[in-house]
C-alpha cells in the first residue's frame, strides 16, 4: 500500500488555526480483519463456495445446450414455451452464478483494505508545451492558411452559409395556412341529428330523463366509409359529444338558452389535451376528465372549476327537427379540444 501524501497525518494537538497551514487528513478508520483473513479454514471454505459457483455456472451453460437439443421446436406453442423456459433458466442461472461467485470472491478473499492512488497534475511540462506550440506554428506555415487568404476566406464563407437552409426548413414548424380551419371544423351542421354512439339511434327529448347522460356522435359520422380510418379517427377526436339532462332550475340563463328543457350538448373532448370526457356526477353536475382531473361544471356553461384545463367545454346549440329528434343548430362556435398554435381567440 503506497500511502505517500503531502497532507500530514491527523494530529489534534497541532490543529491549524491560520490560513496557509496544511490541512490535516482524517485518514481511514482501521477495520478489523475478516474471518477469512485470520482463519485459513474459513478461507478454504470460501474458496470452495466460489469454485462451486463457477462450477455450477459451467454445468448450467452446458445445461442450456442440452435443453436446446432435448427440446427442439415442433411448431406447437407448448413446446416453444417449454424450450424458452428451459433455455432462459439455464442461461440465467449460468450468468447469475458467475456473477455471484465473482462478488463473493471479491468480498471474502481479495484484499479489502483501502488503497490510495495519487492523481497526477493535469498540465504538461513547459518543454512539452513549447514543442506543441512550435509544431502548430509549423503546421500553419506549411498549410499556407495565413498566406493564401483567398482559400481561407472562401472556406469561412462556406462554413457560414451551411447552416442558413436550416432557418428556412425550421420555418415549417411555425404557423401554417389552413390548419386552423381543418381543426376548427367538425361534422356538425344545421340539422345534423345527435345519435347514440355505438348504436347510432337518434334521440328525442322525451327519451332523456333528469340526470341522464348519452355519449353521442353526429348522424353523418356513420356515412364516413369504414376504410377511411384517418377521417373516422379525426372526427372521433373532434365531433364526439355528450348529451346530458339537468334540471333547468339549476342552469344559468346563458347555458339554458343553448339547450332544450335542460338538455345540453357539450363537446366530449377535454380542452386541456383532448381526452374524451364522460365522468359526470349528476348530483353536482361536475364533469371530470379521466386523464388529469380537469373538472367542468355543466350547469354553468362548462366552466372549469378544477384542474389544468383553461377553457370551458364548448356547447353545441340544440333544436328539434320536424320528426321530433334532437339536432344541432350548427357547428360549434369555437374550435373544440385542446389549444393549438393557430387557434383564434373567441
Amino acid at each position: 500500500m503506497s500511502h505517500s501524501s503531502e497532507i500530514a497525518p491527523h494530529d489534534p494537538g497541532t490543529a491549524p488555526a491560520t490560513r496557509g497551514v496544511v490541512l490535516t487528513d482524517p485518514g481511514f478508520k482501521p477495520r478489523p480483519p475478516r474471518l477469512t483473513d485470520t482463519d485459513p479454514k474459513a478461507a478454504k471454505r470460501a474458496e470452495r463456495i466460489i469454485a462451486g459457483a463457477f462450477g455450477l455456472s459451467t454445468l448450467t451453460a452446458f445445461g442450456a445446450i442440452v435443453a436446446y437439443l432435448a427440446l427442439p421446436l415442433d411448431g406447437s406453442l407448448q413446446r416453444l414455451q417449454a424450450s424458452n423456459l428451459a433455455l432462459g433458466l439455464m442461461l440465467g442461472l449460468s450468468t447469475l452464478l458467475l456473477g455471484l461467485g465473482a462478488i463473493y470472491w471479491a468480498k471474502k478473499l481479495m484484499p479489502d483494505t483501502p488503497m490510495v492512488q495519487e492523481r497526477h497534475p493535469l498540465s504538461p511540462t513547459p518543454e512539452a508545451r513549447q514543442a506543441a506550440l512550435a509544431e502548430f506554428d509549423a503546421g500553419v506555415e506549411e498549410s499556407g492558411f495565413g498566406r493564401r487568404t483567398l482559400i481561407r476566406n472562401s472556406l469561412l464563407g462556406a462554413l457560414v452559409a451551411l447552416p442558413l437552409p436550416a432557418v428556412f426548413l425550421l420555418g415549417d414548424l411555425g404557423p401554417t395556412q389552413g390548419v386552423a380551419q381543418v381543426k376548427a371544423e367538425t361534422l356538425w351542421e344545421r340539422g345534423t341529428r345527435v345519435v347514440n354512439d355505438v348504436t347510432f339511434e337518434p334521440i328525442r327529448p322525451q327519451d332523456l330523463e333528469l340526470g341522464q347522460i348519452v355519449n353521442g356522435m353526429p348522424a353523418s359520422y356513420k356515412d364516413i366509409p369504414e376504410e377511411d380510418h384517418a377521417e373516422r379517427l379525426a372526427q372521433r377526436g373532434k365531433s364526439s359529444v355528450i348529451l346530458v339532462r339537468i334540471d333547468p332550475a339549476d342552469l344559468d340563463d346563458a347555458t339554458a338558452a343553448m339547450g332544450i328543457d335542460g338538455i345540453l350538448c357539450y363537446s366530449k373532448i377535454c380542452t386541456h389535451v383532448g381526452c374524451p370526457l364522460s365522468l359526470w356526477e349528476r348530483t353536482t353536475n361536475n364533469m371530470l376528465c379521466p386523464c388529469h382531473q380537469s373538472t367542468f361544471n355543466l350547469a354553468q356553461g362548462g366552466r372549469v372549476i378544477f384542474g389544468p384545463a383553461r377553457r370551458p367545454l364548448p356547447l353545441l346549440a340544440l333544436e328539434v327537427d320536424a320528426e321530433g329528434y334532437l339536432v344541432a343548430q350548427g357547428d360549434f362556435v369555437e374550435p373544440v379540444g385542446p389549444s393549438f398554435w393557430e387557434r383564434e381567440r373567441v
Binding site: K107, D197, R282, N286, L288
Partner: protein, 267 residues
C-alpha cells in the same frame, strides 16, 4: 240418535266434530271465495300497506313520511324525494344494503342488507305506488347468458369505462365520492343502476340504452370477471398502474438490495 248421544262424551267425539266443522268451512270457502284476480289485488294492496309501515319506521326520517324528501333548515337535502323513482330504484338501494344509510356521508357504501326479500318487495311496491317509475326488470332482461359480450364491451367502454374502469374495478370521483367496483355485483343490480342512476351516477334509460344493450353490457362484465389472471396474481386488475408500481417498488427494491449487498463490507 240415542246411540250417538250416548257416545257424546267419547274422547274422539270432539275431534270428529272439529274435523266436520273444518270440512264444512273449507267447502263453503271454495264455493264463495273471490276470484284469483281480486285475490292478487288484495295481496298487492297488503304489500303496499306493509311497505308503508316499513317505510315509516325505516326510511321516513330522511325521505319524509310520504317519500316527499327532507330538506334541512340550511337548504341542503337530507334525503331526496322518492316520488317517481320507481320500484327498480328502491330494489337496487335496499337490496344492495346501501339504504338505509348508516350516516349521511358523501356516498352510501354497499353493505349487508337490512331487509328480507319480501320486505324489499313491499318497500318497492309502496314507493312505486306513489308515482310511476321504472319497474324491477324481468329476469330475461338481465340474464348475462343471453347477452353478447363483444357488443357489450363496445358499449361498456363507450358509456361506463370512464368511471368504472375497463375491467369494472371502479374509480375515484370528487369529494369522497367514487364509482364502485362492478365485480361480484348481481346482474339485476347492474341493470337497475343503469336504469335509475343511483347517487352520483347518471341515468341510462331504456329509451336510449335499450334493454338488450344493458344485457350485453352485463354479459361483458360477467365475462371479464370470469377471466383467469395469467401469472396467478391480478394485482387489482387496474392495468399499468399496479403493474408499474410492482416493477418500481418490488423489482427495483430487489435490485437496490442486491447493490447494497455487493457494496457492503464483508465480515
Amino acid at each position: 240418535m240415542t246411540a250417538l248421544l250416548a257416545k257424546r262424551r267419547h274422547p274422539m267425539a270432539a275431534v270428529l266434530v272439529l274435523a266436520a266443522a273444518l270440512v264444512l268451512v273449507g267447502g263453503l270457502y271454495v264455493l264463495f271465495a273471490p276470484d284469483s284476480r281480486a285475490d292478487v289485488q288484495t295481496q298487492t294492496s297488503t304489500q303496499v300497506a306493509e311497505g308503508k309501515e316499513l317505510f315509516t319506521i325505516g326510511c321516513s326520517s330522511c325521505h319524509g313520511l310520504n317519500g316527499e324528501g327532507v330538506v334541512r333548515d340550511d337548504g341542503t337535502v337530507l334525503g331526496p324525494t322518492l316520488i317517481g323513482v320507481g320500484a327498480a330504484s328502491v330494489h337496487f338501494q335496499v337490496d344492495t344494503g346501501r339504504m338505509p344509510m348508516a350516516a349521511p356521508n358523501a356516498q352510501a357504501p354497499r353493505k349487508s342488507e337490512a331487509y328480507t326479500d319480501e320486505q324489499v318487495q313491499a318497500l318497492a311496491a309502496f314507493v312505486a305506488s306513489l308515482a310511476p317509475g321504472p319497474a324491477i326488470p324481468a329476469e330475461e332482461q338481465y340474464d348475462p347468458t343471453l347477452g353478447d359480450p363483444a357488443r357489450g364491451g363496445v358499449l361498456y367502454r363507450t358509456n361506463c369505462a370512464s368511471c368504472h374502469n375497463t375491467s369494472g374495478q371502479g374509480g375515484a370521483l370528487t369529494i369522497g365520492k367514487y364509482a364502485p367496483k362492478l365485480t361480484g355485483v348481481e346482474p339485476i343490480h347492474i341493470y337497475q343502476a343503469m336504469l335509475t342512476g343511483p347517487q352520483a351516477m347518471p341515468v341510462f334509460s331504456d329509451a336510449v340504452l335499450a334493454s338488450e344493450d344493458k344485457r350485453d353490457i352485463i354479459a361483458y362484465l360477467k365475462t371479464v370477471e370470469a377471466q383467469p389472471d395469467p401469472g396467478g396474481l391480478g394485482i387489482g386488475r387496474i392495468g399499468p398502474v399496479s403493474e408499474g408500481l410492482w416493477v418500481w417498488i418490488i423489482t427495483f427494491g430487489a435490485l437496490i438490495g442486491a447493490a447494497v449487498w455487493i457494496g457492503a463490507k464483508s465480515s
